[in-house]
Every structure is written in C-alpha cells, then in structure tokens.
C-alpha cells in the first residue's frame, strides 16, 4: 500500500510549551486513519500541522518534516494555498461560511478554478452529491448555509472541502457536535469517500475509530504510543497504555 503522508520527527511548540514530541507516522493512501487519545494529548495539534493551519498563530511553530507525495510541505517554499487546496479540513464544529448553500461550495471553487457558470453549477452539484447532501438541499440552494441542521452543515463542509479536488481530508472530531443519526450518516459518507481520498480523522469516540478506520494511532501526552491496523490495536495492543485507554481505564 502506497504511503501518502509521512510525518518525520514532528516537534510542536505553543510558545515555549512543547506539545508534540518526535511524532513519526506514515499514512496510507485511500485509507481512513484514526487518531485517538485522551483530550489534550496532541492529536488535534498533530492534525493541524498537515495543512499548516497552525501558522495563523504567531506563537505556534513546528520542527521536523512532513512529506506529502515526496515533498516536504513544511518547507517555506511550498505554496500554502495550494497545499490547503490539496489537503481539506473539516472542523469539530460545522463552519459554513456566512453565504448561501450554493455559494458555500462555489466560493472555494471560484478561488482556485476559472469555470463557466454552467461548469460551476455542475461542480457544486457533484460535490453535494458526493457528500450525499444533494437531495436534501437541491431546493434550497439559495438559503443561508447557516439555516441547515447541524449534521447537514457538517456534510456541507465536507462537500465544500471535496469541491476543490483535494487528495487528503483531515477531520478534527467531525461528529462530536452532532446527533447520533447524523453521525451515522457522516460515517457512511466517510467510508464512501475513502475510495477517492486519504482520510485522517481525529476522534475521541473509540467505537467510531473501530467502525470506520483502517489504521489507528494512539496519542498520549504528545507522543505516538502505538500505531497499526485498527483491528490489531483494538484486539491486541502491544503497549500497556494503549490497552488501558481502549479498555476505558482513563481518558
């Protein structure tokens, strides 16, 4: 199986506090990789390195290498706008833009591509279909994106991310603010998306990790304690900490 992302010795700092220690991780292409661990263990921080979104904050910095398709994307030479097009991100809370449903999808497309309005409409429809949202919103494309339900908003954000032809999708606890039925829909969606995209999902929900992921990484206090096929991690963890966590002894 091809390796899509390869993190090498990532150390991450908030000001003078180190949050990640020597994180090395190889993420397989077109698989779902789950990142689990107790809160504050650095799993979200790790994810936020992949699209360099942490750079928005003045006091946050990272050392190490992050190789995507053979290129170290932490190199300042790498174009961050293109990187973020290629690496989409879904947040814990749904983040529709303050625009209509249609514009929510069309806006990022227009940023990156020059398309006729007909092509644009097709792309928007494609993205909404791929996020299995089209049937629910096709009659309210002009309504505000904020008027949708929480689960719909989150799928809108997924549609928005895949509309600009990314290769990787980062999901930072995408279902933690959403009800169980909507969560199930999003999990189904993720399983269908992995045919085309490499997905990395941070979750605090171990059942979710077990249900959908192919590989699982267990984080603890900024260290990657254990990484391997999900089935093995959950049935036969090698590390004591991992076992304690997945059996619910802490976290």
């Amino acid at each position: 199986m091809a390796i899509k992302i390869s993190a090498k010795n990532l150390n991450f700092y908030y000001g003078s506090n180190q949050a990640l220690f020597d994180n090395s991780l190889d993420i397989e292409e077109r698989r779902i990789t789950a990142v689990i661990g107790p809160s504050g263990c650095g799993k979200s921080t790790h994810l936020r390195v992949y699209n360099r979104i942490f750079e928005l904050y003045r006091d946050q910095r990272v050392t190490g290498e992050l190789i995507i398709d053979g290129v170290n994307v932490l190199d300042p030479q790498v174009d961050v706008l293109e990187l973020r097009r290629k690496v989409g991100m879904i947040f814990q809370k749904p983040t529709p833009f303050p625009m209509s449903v249609f514009e929510n999808i069309a806006y990022p497309i227009k940023l990156h591509f020059k398309l006729s309005s007909k092509e644009l409409k097709q792309r928007v429809e494609q993205a909404l279909r791929a996020a299995s949202l089209w049937d629910e919103v096709k009659d309210k494309l002009k309504n505000s994106g904020l008027a949708l339900s929480g689960g719909q908003q989150q799928r809108l954000c997924i549609a928005r991310a895949i509309a600009i032809e990314p290769e990787i999708l980062l999901m930072d606890e995408p279902t933690s603010a959403i009800d169980p039925v909507a969560t199930l829909k999003i999990e189904e969606l993720m399983l269908s998306l992995k045919e085309k995209y490499t997905i990395v999902v941070v979750t605090h929900n171990m059942q979710q990790a077990a249900r959908i992921s192919d590989n699982t990484a267990f984080f603890f206090k900024g260290h990657i304690i254990e990484y391997g096929p999900t089935a093995r991690i959950f049935t036969n963890p090698k590390e004591k900490k991992t076992e304690e966590y997945i059996t619910g002894r802490f976290g």
Binding site: N51, G88, F97, I164
Partner: protein, 311 residues
C-alpha cells in the same frame, strides 16, 4: 419601615435622573421645532430645496448647507472607511505589543479637540492643499478633464473648500470607525477564519469574503457612527470650508455645512434668520438622529463598542 421608605425614595431619585436622558432627547426636538416655526410657516418644505440665502431680503434656503454637509461627509467616509478597515485588519493580526501601542495611538486621534484640528487645518492643511495637492491634481493629473467625475473636480482652487474639509473630517472620524471595525474583526469566531484558510483563502480573501460578511452588521454600524460624527462636526469644518452660502460647483469650491452655518451666522442673526438657523438645526438633528438609530440597530446584535468612544 423607615429603611424601606428611603429605598423607595432612592429608587425614584434614580429613575428621575435616568429620565433626564429621555427628556433631553425629546427636549431637543421640541425646542428646535418651536424655535423654527416661523421659517416653516414662511417657506414650508421649500426651505429644504431652496438655495437662496439672503438675509437682507429675508429669504432663506437650506440646500447649500445640506449639500455641503453631504459632500464633506461623503468625501470623509470614502477616505476613512478603507483606511480604517485596512488598519484594523493589520492591527488585529499584528504582534500584541505593536498592535496595542498603535491602537492607542489611533485612539488618541479621537481625543484631540476638534478646534485644534480646525487650527491645524487652517494653518497647515490649507496651504499644503493650495500649493501642492490641488495644483498636482489639476495641473499635473488634469483630473478636471476626466469624463463624468471631472465635472466635480474644479479647475480653480485656493486651498479652502469641500475637499480640504473632507480630508480633515476623514482623519477625525477614522478612529471611531477603526475602533468598531477592530471589534467586529475580533468577534469573528477563530474557527470560521480557520475554515476559510483551510480551503486555501489568502488573508485578504478571508477578510473580504468571510470576516466582512460575517460582521456586516457591525461594519455598517461602524460606518453609521463615522457618518454621524462627520455630519455634525463643527469647528474643524468651520475653519477650512470657506463659509460660502452658495451651492458648491465642485469639490474645490468654498461651501458651508449645516453645523458651520450655525456657528458662523448665529451671533449676527435675528428674527427670521435666527429661526431659519434653528430650522437648519432641526434638519441636522433629524439626520443625526436617524443615523444614530440606524447605527444602534446594526450594532445591537453585535458586542462591538456602541460607538462610545473611550476618548
């Protein structure tokens, strides 16, 4: 029992004190309406659209003052809004210490008394406008030859006039608009900005397409606050506008504004002219009131400072 009675008396005292705010607001309208009755009797609503101002013949019209007020205000806002927005964008993301110092510096602009802006305008800006800026605009750039907008840029200039007043007003309202825009930008949820950067927006794209849309009501509120300030400003304008009671021909013309007309003519005015000045005051009051209501309507839902300057 005694204690309860003092409590009641105290509460009533407080209520009566608070009522002063409402009574004063009402008082402005009543007083200015009463004092301008004879003007409205004489000229009716035609007062608002007449450009005749002839104290000797006892004929008065508000149009030149109203037009002058609107022109100076529009120029001030056209200059101040982009500057305020750009400055707020930069300083919100700047390193905390730098942002703090520069923000305080900009806030100080609002603390300088307007009469000092007036003096500075008269002795510093007017000569600069006359000797450098306006010759550059007219003789070098030949802006007055431009189609359409050229009509509003005069060929003749002397440093005074609408344009100079607009520039000084722009500097004066800048800190008010800036303070509100800064609050509006800060109010945008970080996760929304992250989402915008996450789909590959640049800083500017995030600001204009996401932050601005998200905080549009606050932005409008801030603009209205600036509008209100510019509209009613008296002293700074009085010194540099030229105080001509004629319809301005172009932006270099000497003109007047409602506030400047009031300050300039009140001392010599009597009878009908005084009443006409009160009528102008009433017009200004109505304009300011509606603008303030609009500003509060837009700022209501936001937690941006409600245009209450800290200066």
């Amino acid at each position: 029992m005694f204690a309860l009675r003092t409590d009641r008396i105290f509460q009533w005292l407080c209520l009566i004190s608070a009522m002063i705010a409402g009574l004063l607001m009402l008082g402005f309208f009543v007083q200015l309406s009463l004092s301008s009755v004879s003007t409205w009797r004489q000229f009716g609503l035609g007062f608002l659209v007449s450009n005749d101002w002839d104290p000797v013949a006892n004929r008065f019209g508000a149009l030149p003052s109203i037009v002058g007020t609107l022109c100076t205000t529009v120029i001030a806002l056209l200059l101040a809004i982009p500057l305020a927005f750009a400055a707020a964008l930069y300083l919100v993301d700047a390193p905390p210490l730098l942002s703090n110092i520069l923000s305080h510096a900009i806030d100080l602009l609002a603390a300088i008394p307007s009469v000092i802006y007036g003096m500075w305008g008269l002795f510093v800006m007017v000569p600069i406008m006359q000797k450098h800026v306006q010759p550059f605009m007219v003789d070098v750039l030949r802006l007055h030859r431009l189609p359409v907008i050229g009509r509003y840029i005069g060929e003749y200039y002397n440093g005074f006039g609408i344009f100079t007043a607009g520039i000084i007003l722009a500097i004066m309202v800048l800190p008010y608009i800036y303070a509100i825009l800064r609050d509006v930008i800060k109010m945008t949820p970080p996760v929304l900005r992250e989402a915008a950067y996450g789909v590959g927006c640049t800083r500017w794209e995030t600001a204009k397409d996401i932050v601005l849309r998200y905080g549009i009501r606050g932005v409008l509120g801030g603009i209205f606050i600036g509008l209100g300030r510019a509209l009613g400003e008296t002293m700074a304008v009085l010194f540099v506008i030229g105080n001509l009671m004629d319809m301005p021909e172009d932006i270099f013309s000497g003109a007047t504004t409602i506030a400047a007309t009031l300050a300039n003519n009140f001392a010599e005015a009597d009878c009908l002219q005084r009443s006409a000045l009160f009528a102008l005051g009433l017009v200004l009051l109505l304009m300011s009131f509606s603008i303030q209501v609009a500003a509060q309507y837009y700022l209501h839902a936001t937690s941006a400072r409600r245009g209450e300057s800290r200066s």
